[in-house]
């Protein structure tokens, strides 16, 4: 295969020249790459699993989640995703999709909510929460975000979320806004959505849960925020904690009108 290797060298040499051109080609090339992955998103596997988990009788009470109230009445899941987080009168608190699912797993199925919340992402019942969230989110695909700001608590969480978004700290002085406060920026080759306003359909808040090809994991919004905080060099935000829900409320309200593409596929 002598010809092959000499060709390889020639190609490599050609690619190392003309960096300006290569740069332009790089972003186009990556767009092509992303397009190739759209057909066949492994998130489908998690969505199917989530649907199964929703319907299956499980837990100490051997019950399904089909009577779970995600904000639109017991058992209604279509369109629920694009209205969360919201205030729930029964728990008297703001909840996002995942913390609400955990509430239902406790009240309907008899699981221990505190135990689930302490479980690491990708493990045990927490992995099931992620699959369930993927299924519920997928049922609102194409719908536009429309979070309520009617309840005073919803407004309060928006204001707190805004403060969290701009909170500088950690060893690097980073806030969410360091990366997501301006338009058209990127980290390495990753485009960064500006999250202080509606960043557009299927971008930012409207793209998670998403399948991450880099590690082959399904990432929920809670994990997305958790890993943002990790990279921000912040301490660990508790699963379903008020901080994560306030931040989600801020992002969700800002995303008003953006069509959801969740579950998406990401780097």
């Amino acid at each position: 295969m002598n010809k092959a290797s000499s060709l390889a060298v020639a190609t490599a040499l050609a690619l190392s020249t003309m960096p300006a051109l290569a740069q332009k080609t790089a972003s186009q090339g990556i767009d092509e790459y992303r397009a190739m992955l759209q057909d066949g998103n492994p998130a489908d596997l998690f969505e199917a699993k989530g649907e199964d988990l929703w319907k299956k009788a499980r837990g100490p009470k051997n019950a399904s989640l089909e009577k779970c109230d995600l904000g639109k009445g017991p058992g209604v899941f279509k369109g629920a995703f694009v209205e969360l987080p919201k205030y729930f009168a029964d728990t008297q608190r703001m909840q996002d999709l995942e913390s609400r699912l955990v509430t239902c797993m406790e009240t309907l199925q008899g699981f221990n909510a505190a135990e689930i919340s302490k479980t690491a992402f990708g493990h045990g019942e927490m992995a099931n929460v992620t699959s369930l969230a993927t299924f519920i989110a997928a049922e609102s695909k194409g719908q536009r975000f429309n979070l309520s700001q009617a309840h005073s608590q919803e407004k309060t969480f928006y204001e707190v979320g805004k403060r969290l978004f701009f909170q500088r700290g950690g060893s690097h002085d980073f806030s969410c806004a360091s990366c997501h406060g301006e338009e058209g920026k990127r980290i390495r080759l990753q485009d960064l959505p500006m999250l202080t306003k509606n960043p557009g359909d299927g971008v930012g808040f409207a793209a998670w849960p998403a399948y991450r090809v880099s590690n082959g994991q399904m990432w929920s919004m809670q994990l997305r925020l958790n890993d943002c905080y990790r990279q921000q060099r912040f301490p660990y935000p508790g699963f379903g904690s008020d901080a994560t829900i306030a931040l989600s409320t801020y992002l969700g309200v800002n995303a008003k009108g953006a069509a959801s593409v969740a579950p998406a596929i990401k780097r």
């Binding site: 057909d39 066949g40 998103n41 492994p42 489908d44 596997l45 199917a48 699993k49 399948y211 090809v213 082959g216």
Partner: protein, 103 residues
């Protein structure tokens, strides 16, 4: 037991394009865990497909196929309503079969 596959089989003319997603770790055998020990290879080794019960497709895979694998192929002489069944078997002997109706 392994999680189900997602199979989409779409007919166009007299053939059907089959797209499959499989739930599998596809551990490469090259990776080290936190303690520095090599994680043993664990991957789907054989994939086969049947059209209405008849063998039509087979492939062998190595550990370099990505996690949660995707596969696309096209079967000839297929019409809507036919059945396509896909089976995988991994190097530990685990196997899984799922079936889809051609649309």
């Amino acid at each position: 037991m392994a999680d189900p596959m997602r199979i989409r089989a779409q007919s166009s003319g007299d053939k059907a394009t089959v797209r499959v997603l499989m739930s599998h770790e596809m551990e490469s055998g090259q990776r080290k865990d936190a303690s520095g020990k090599t994680v043993p290879a664990w991957f789907i080794q054989e994939v086969t497909a049947k059209h209405n019960g008849k063998d039509v497709f087979s492939a062998e895979w190595g550990p370099a196929v990505s996690k949660n694998p995707f596969l696309q192929f096209a079967v000839k002489g297929v019409k809507a309503g036919d059945k396509i069944a896909v089976t995988w078997k991994d190097n530990k002997g685990d196997t899984r079969t799922d079936e889809a109706t051609v649309s």
